[in-house]
Symmetry: C2
């Protein structure tokens, strides 16, 4: 597998998790920041290798083999992210780009050893679950902070948007994974929230609340 092929496989997997239904050439092109014609070419190649189901004009999906590959790449990506944060002291907003490169390193043993060094983590620094060595993959509950009702409390377990800007916003406001967040009030007008986190009262826009995963307690 080339790096490019791996990146397409990963993108198809992520689109599959997000949206429902088939994945269109255009959607994939947008995700890959490339042109639809390039996607068509690549789909033909991946289809020949048995990694995707592709029929002209019918959209694309991963085969079992393709899904296995995707999980392997995502496992590598997320383990490397944990390594960067836990062992090399990177901030969670700096690790994505480096992990994008490291995820393509080929060595089963390397990943197993890394997993061991990190003590078999189940989640990456953004709260995303790390697929197991044999492809086990438990999706996290996708309850968003914006879905909690007034008065209830949740533990922050992940971010939906893991862009550096969003992560730095959370840092600035001292909101971290593991924090308890209580919904004090909700504005009817814009659905913004008044919350209590760590003894502090904060005001969060709906957009922020839409990008924080919580576990209700």
């Amino acid at each position: 597998m080339t790096h490019s092929e791996e990146n397409y496989i990963k993108a198809i997997f992520h689109l599959g998790l997000e949206g429902v239904g088939v994945i269109s050439t255009n959607a994939l092109a947008e995700r890959m920041e490339t042109k639809p014609s390039s996607v068509t070419d690549m789909m033909r190649r991946l289809s020949e290798k048995g990694l995707v189901n592709y029929k002209k004009y019918q959209g694309v999906s991963l085969t079992d083999l393709g899904t296995k590959m995707a999980l392997s790449i995502i496992r590598k990506h997320r383990l490397w992210e944990v390594f960067l944060v836990e062992k090399l002291d990177f901030n969670w907003d700096e690790v994505h780009e480096i992990a994008e490169q490291l995820e393509h390193i080929e060595s089963e043993k390397l990943i197993d050893k890394l997993d061991e060094l990190l003590n078999y983590p189940k989640f990456d620094p953004h709260g995303d679950p790390i697929p197991g060595k044999n492809g086990e993959f438990l999706e996290r509950d996708n309850l968003l902070l914006s879905q909690l009702s007034i008065g209830s409390t949740g533990i922050c377990v992940g971010v939906k948007d893991s862009s550096a800007v969003f992560l730095r916003f959370l840092d600035k406001n001292k909101i971290a994974l593991g924090n308890e967040i209580k919904i004090l009030d909700k504005e009817e007008f814009d659905n913004s929230l008044h919350i209590l986190v760590d003894q502090r009262e904060l005001h969060l826009s709906q957009q922020i609340a839409n990008n924080l995963y919580v576990k209700k307690i």
Copy 2:
């Protein structure tokens, strides 16, 4: 820089250290396991980028910029090798191939942090010196075990051949970097050696002795 370009730069640097004089297209082709015509193409490209001095039929050498690049890649390679051995418990015969991939990861900060994690090592697991962040590069004394005279003692400081077969031979015979080796006798016929290492008497062929670097004491 593409991976391929980096590999050529590295190969030119290593050939420069080994042999004397200019580096020929054929020598580089052999080292890169490719065809001379491919080398010619690549030399033109690297020359345009200012990384090598290249004139048709005149051989090639690195520019200052090319040398800086080579040292940076070698630094990354060797730091990753230390990481694999020290932190992930790999044997010294398993790390080269993985480091060949890792050396192409782009992130200055990553390498600085790795250097720090490993406590600023000066040598890799094979005893090769690790270039500094600013391009400092001290070549190791290149005294070979085969050059020691009878009765003298040296500390094993490196291997010239770092192929897995040779490294496993050393493991099998419990010869490791740091060991003291005393030359007990030398056979005139084949220049093989009788040595004392770690209280044990061993018999080494000249070929083995030609691939072990020592520091005389």
